[in-house]
Amino acid sequence: MTSAITTSRLSKSYKKGVRRQQVAALANLDIEVQQGEVFGFIGSNGAGKSTTIKILMGLIKPTDGQAWLFGQQASAPAARARVGYLSEHPHFYDFLTPVELLRLLGAMRQMPQQDIRQQTEKLLGLVSLSEAADRKIRGFSKGMVQRLGIAAALLDDPDLLILDEPMSGLDPLGRHLVATIIRDLQQQGKTIFFSTHIIPDIETLCDRVGILVRGQQKYVGSIQEALYPAGNRFEITVRMPEQWRPEQGILAPHHLLWHKESLYKFEIAETDISSIAQGVIASNGSIVTLEPKRRSLEELFLDLSGHSEPTTERTLASPAP
């Protein structure tokens, strides 16, 4: 079986300004996404995610290297026949209505009229745009445009979905919806390649991730391995009696992360878990949560890019505690 996406030493440098200064946006990217896989593509702002995706969609030409979709050169129009695409900033003909837009896209993909009509109804319902189906896109909110973009990408029941930040601009319901859609599609055996900044999405949806740092591919593989390296530390939250003080007892040598009323959260090593659990129970306390300490992606990036000092630039959103 051919892979859904293959790239080989894919590189892109933009020429900028009057002096044609070269900006290396992407260097020697090698990824392979198998059919049926959900692949998360992560990286800080300006890392080169959208550049990669545009190359895959034939919108820009790589300066070096090659890309294939289902074994076909990405630059050939026919390669896009089985692909649904959502761009980073979806921008549609704003003089059309969603129904007209989907009809245009369907016609360009040579879909039968019947299918177009059925899919339009189904998909607009799915992204909750049925009410706005006959309103001009000009008046749509950002989230509505994003939803419409998702519907447009799904129109022809593609085997491969390439989504550039599908969650951006969506409300929590919308995010949940997209997550559900991605899971459903995975169930149906479709391949999904998406870029994102949102960590929970990556953890819950992706089979594998690729991490880009300033155009360099730093990691490809399971997200679990990336975020929870072996021998990692744990975070324990305990509820203790009122007179209890953290300076006393078994927890004293451990790092207190925060405390609120009778709740205390400590960072501990894996090897200390059992002794601490006993100690807490002995002091009439109870364990509320115990979870592996997750590296924030920020830390991960810093690790991967070999910098220890934090950059001023805002990178990926940290996970919610």
Binding site: Y14, K54, P77, R80, V83, S87, Y93, L96, L104, M108
Partner: protein
């Protein structure tokens, strides 16, 4: 009914043009101008009907070209600049199909505009004629051919916009450059005639002569499509002139399309 994607894009471009506010208001302005033919022609001493035809044809010409220029700006250059084209280019169609589809839509739109304005002009002329005694008959055949000429000019300029759009990354630049081509294209013939008549040989440096001859071959010669004089004065229309203009316009437009699609192939859509 499965239309070729080219025509689908053309059809939706057409639709977009019809819904363009600017175009709508230009058409309304045209209607107003054509009604004013009645007033304008009344100031003529000897040839009110000729002046009426003259005025309405000039109105049709200027407005059709303006509408084409603005449509080119809004439907071609703006679309590519605003990334709305990603939507279409993300589909399994080639960029050539995309550009040709856009051009088809533009052709259709300018045909609609020129027919609409032409019909209004004809109505205005009939009104003018009603108020006059002993006027010569209007040469409707020539009037029609004059409109074809105007349409040809707008097609050519549409193709010029397409070419500049394929090259430039800003939306306004192709628009301005097309206006430049329009200005030059309308005057190359006049300037060449002037030089050839030897009127200005003394003052003209040699390189200017070359420049004019060069631009005569490079820029479209838009005066070829000007059949207004025949329509205004009801002169016999030489078939050779019409045939030549049509052949010239078609070939020139096709060359522009080939160039535009070739350049567009190699362009980054950023």
């Amino acid at each position: 009914m499965a239309l070729h994607p080219t025509f689908m894009i053309g059809y939706y471009t057409f639709k977009g043009g019809l819904r363009d506010r600017l175009v709508q208001s230009l058409l309304l302005t045209g209607l107003f101008f054509l009604l004013s033919t009645l007033v304008f022609s009344s100031f003529s001493m000897r040839q009110p009907l000729e002046v009426a035809i003259n005025y309405s044809l000039a109105t049709v010409q200027i407005l059709t070209i303006l509408v084409t220029l603005f449509l080119g700006l809004n439907l071609l250059s703006r679309e590519i600049e605003s990334r709305a084209g990603y939507l279409v280019m993300g589909q399994p169609i080639s960029r050539t199909v995309y550009l040709l589809g856009k051009f088809c839509g533009l052709c259709l739109l300018s045909l609609l505009v020129v027919s609409f304005l032409g019909l209004c002009a004809a109505g205005g002329l009939l009104l003018v004629k009603l108020g006059l005694k002993d006027t010569p008959a209007i040469a409707w055949g020539n009037f029609f051919v004059a409109h074809i000429g105007i349409w040809m000019i707008s097609l050519l300029l549409g193709a010029v916009t397409l070419l500049f759009t394929a090259l430039a990354t800003s939306a306004v630049l192709p628009f301005l450059m097309t206006i430049g081509v329009w200005f030059i294209g309308q005057s190359t013939q006049a300037v060449k005639n002037y030089l050839e008549a030897g009127l200005g040989e003394q003052q003209m440096p040699r390189f200017l002569n070359w420049l004019v001859t060069g631009s005569f071959y490079c820029f479209p010669n838009l005066s070829l499509f000007d059949f207004k004089t025949y329509a205004i004065y009801g002169l016999a229309l030489p078939p050779l002139a019409v045939g030549y203009a049509m052949a010239y316009g078609t070939i020139y437009t096709m060359i522009l399309l080939v160039l535009a699609t070739t350049l567009f192939q190699h362009r980054d859509m950023t």
